[in-house]
Subunit: 323 residues, 2 copies
């Protein structure tokens, strides 16, 4: 028999998503529950266990029907121990033991990795990555995260920080202070809040006519989406802001590519909804900052799975139990 299934879990600060998938990566069932972060997040793992067991009953399935469960989590993940530390948006203060507790609660083998790595696996497997051996994934959201797959394997590095492309220094002098404590990180300019920060700063020195300038002067709430939408409409300040963000993003993507020569660099996350314009501008700077063999063989792409990447990639973590 070769039709055992995988379970993928994407654990987020507001919602926990689940999927039952085939080994080939076809989604057969999907559901989600609210993430209950009350009481220091102590309900999160029991709720996950209950939800899995409940759905197995509904679908008339048993633990032996599954190869394993994979989960993507915020925080600092120890993949060998199966623990999570410092996931502040889950209200988890100390170290939590998802592997121990979910295996005990479901009777199914369990694997875990951080959310950006798991999304990278998903995009590589079923999204823009065409299942290539060498894929870099960058997600532009509230923060900027990433995951790197080389020789078909996820990279973690000596202390789990491989793929933290959001903290590549793109502005070595005069860069903004990042939440990490360092200056000039990609995240300070290319995250959702980073784009707004760049817009505010450039608006101060901008004297021409601009709807974006007027909104900022009026104290209107703006977002990266508003900035990019205005850029698409030709607003001259918004065009400049977007160009500056794409310059730093293109530089970072280029240097990751000069270092790794992946087949694809995939850009996802909410900020990447700017779509083709973002892809074209990033690619232009990417080409300016890559040397010929990389320029000719590495391709920048937009993610295609959206929010699904996490749950699909998480399920693929469980494939390691398939012997």
């Amino acid at each position: 028999m070769n039709d055992k299934k995988l379970i993928g879990i994407d654990l987020g600060g507001t919602t926990t998503k689940f999927a039952i998938m085939t080994e080939q990566g076809d989604v057969q069932q999907r559901w989600s529950i609210d993430t209950d972060i009350m009481d220091e997040g102590s309900h999160i793992i029991p709720n996950i266990v209950d939800s899995i067991n409940h759905h197995l009953q509904i679908f008339d399935m048993e633990p032996k029907d599954f190869i394993g469960i994979g989960m993507g989590s915020p925080g600092s993940v120890d993949i060998d121990a199966g623990t999570v530390t410092g996931a502040f948006n889950l209200n988890w203060k100390g170290t939590v033991y998802p592997k121990r507790d979910i295996e005990a609660g479901t009777g199914i083998p369990f694997a875990i990795d951080n959310d950006a790595n798991v999304a990278a696996l998903g995009e590589r497997w079923k999204g823009a990555g065409d299942n290539a051996q060498d894929v870099v994934f960058i997600t532009l959201g509230t923060g900027v995260g990433g995951g790197i797959i080389m020789n078909g394997e996820l990279l973690h590095g000596v202390a789990g920080s491989a793929g933290e492309i959001g903290h590549v220094t793109v502005q070595p002098q005069g860069g903004y202070l990042c939440t990490c404590g360092k200056h000039g990180c990609l995240e300070t300019v290319a995250s959702a809040t980073g784009v707004v920060r760049v817009a505010r700063d450039m608006a101060e020195q901008y004297a021409g006519d601009s709807k974006l300038k007027k909104m900022l002067d009026d104290g209107d709430e703006i977002s990266s989406k508003i900035v990019f939408d205005l850029a698409a409409e030709g607003d001259p300040l918004a065009v400049k802001v977007m160009d500056r963000v794409m310059y730093y993003l293109g530089l970072a993507v280029a240097n990751v590519s000069n270092t790794l020569n992946p087949k694809y660099v995939i850009i996802g996350g909410g900020v990447s909804n700017a779509g083709k314009t973002l892809l074209d501008q990033t690619t232009n700077y990417f080409k300016q900052f890559t040397f010929p063999n990389v320029k000719n063989t590495t391709t920048v792409r937009l993610a295609t799975l959206g929010n699904e990447a996490g749950v699909i990639g998480a399920a693929s973590l469980a494939l390691q139990y398939n012997n």
Copy 2:
């Protein structure tokens, strides 16, 4: 029996080095021959075959005593096909077939990779890398090259350019033109010629008292060694030049580390002979440009094997035949 041997070959533009090693990495025999690049380099492979067969006779050994031969080569290496293209310093104009020809000539399995990757393997195995799973090697010589080992495996990328850290863009605006056709590559400032170029440019705008300035004004021949030696003596211009070079090197090392979080970044090549000063200054900038988890877990080190790294790492390529 578990005492089969490895042969390592480091093919360079002037000398070809050989070593017979144990599987554990102990060097048992070493010799070298001149690399005869006459007649479009057509003697190189036959000379290697003859030299191996001759030494096997001297040492009273047979092909069956060996697990395999590994070789590091300049040029663009196709590791699967075992071919080399565009190795201009060997006078090889087209594609050459070392694997086919050396296996036929010696009866021993043969593997090949490019010289920087092979040196990375050597430093990781028997040098500063402590055989760690995640090691980045950067060599500062006539050019700047590199090799990356993650999860214990060499990375090549989709078209063999992984590890080309010399072409990371460190000066996105106003950088020097590189031989690769792009501007602002690390190689343009941190190679032996790059250091001299930085010195010449900074001397033009330097008005103070400096032996380096005087040497350049007098038209004396200078080298990266002279610049770094003068910096060690406290020559004020040379100190500034070295600081600028270390700034760019530290930035590149930091961003490779922010991306990969290796256990070690090892710096080798002739320019790295500046030793502890170079290491300290690079580490300072590395710390400025890395985020906390990488700063605390990735360490910059100097290479320890010198010219031996190539032949030792080459021998390790042959371990893949050990089944």
